[in-house]
């Protein structure tokens, strides 16, 4: 007989950590982006995606609102806005 014995891969996706945000969330302006990918690299959740310039965005289901993407963007093309704002 076995109790819980192993976990299947990548199942943390079931945990929508976006619910952790309380006051602010990032807004990807997609205007002056140079596709340096710093936001992709720095996000602790790994929830930012994009390829060409001005295509970068995050997955709000998982974004915890830490604001690191805003800090690292060399073009200030990401800003923090009120959580309630419609994007």
């Amino acid at each position: 007989m076995f109790g819980p014995i192993f976990t299947k891969p990548l199942t943390s996706k079931n945990n929508k950590t976006g619910s952790w945000r309380t006051t602010q969330k990032p807004k990807f302006l997609q205007k002056n982006c140079i596709a340096c990918k710093m936001c992709v690299l720095i996000c602790p959740e790994g929830c930012i995606e994009g390829e060409q310039k001005n295509t970068y965005h995050c997955d709000y289901d998982y974004c915890k609102g830490c604001g690191l993407c805003v800090e690292v963007c060399p073009k200030q093309d990401i800003i923090m806005v009120e959580e309630s704002q419609n994007l």
């Binding site: 819980p4 996706k13 996000c43 830490c66």
Partner: protein, 298 residues
Amino acid sequence: MPKQILFACGHTACAGCGQAIAARLVIETAGTNTMVVNNTGCLEVFSTKYPESSWGVPWIHSLFENAAAVASGIEAALKYLGKEDIQIITQAGDGGTADIGLQALSGMWERGHNILSICYDNEAYMNTGVQRSGLTPFDSDTATTPYGKQSFGNPTLKKPVPEIALAHIIPYVATASVGFPQDLQRKVKKALSIKGPKYLQIHVPCPLGWRHTPNLTYKVARLAIETGLYPLIEYENGALSSVRKIKPLPVEEYLKLQGRFKHILNSPEQIKKIQEIANNNIKRYNLLIQEETPSSSI
């Protein structure tokens, strides 16, 4: 082509966690042909709380101090099966590396296993509530080295684990930082291309334990390097092969952003001692960017 996810969202790391950034970059660089052994610590706890796991590669956690030994067993088993091309990475915090995990690492290094050991250095036992470790820096306020009437915080210097690793004569030893993510990725790739034991110590700020806002993780990490307090170095076959040269900023720039050093900001004597640590690093590793001389401008 969509990149295969090897470290998924939904883990329960604090917002702004430096270790989460580093762990994801490490495994994304390593790729699918990798097995990971993790010691007990923040990373293990926040990435594998049953019934969920963030990992997209085979992953095992045993105890606090034995990842290096478990990995040695995996390596031996893969050798027995003729599958030696599979990469093996061990991961541990600073406590699980420098303190309780040092014996197993030392044995693994001495035996020469083909394993990359990563230390996520957030400079204290964070998962258990910010107690000091052998890698806690001088004057850091922690739960077991609190500042007080007769204390300025942690009284000792960081244990020089990269030097201990080098003393074992292993082919690759390096430090890295989440303040320099591309350099981190380069070092992981480089390490995995070398056969034998490899050690990579990654500086990862902890917003909770270091007491800064989550959005400062990147800046704080960079300042640690730019003040000379955390040298970015790389050794191959025992010889220093690269350092990140800096225009040193005064250590205060780094200290003032963190609550764990707040208590010494008004103490010029303590700041001087910490500046000395930075200066020693700068001297030792020749971290100063050379000024341009007239002859070199030709």
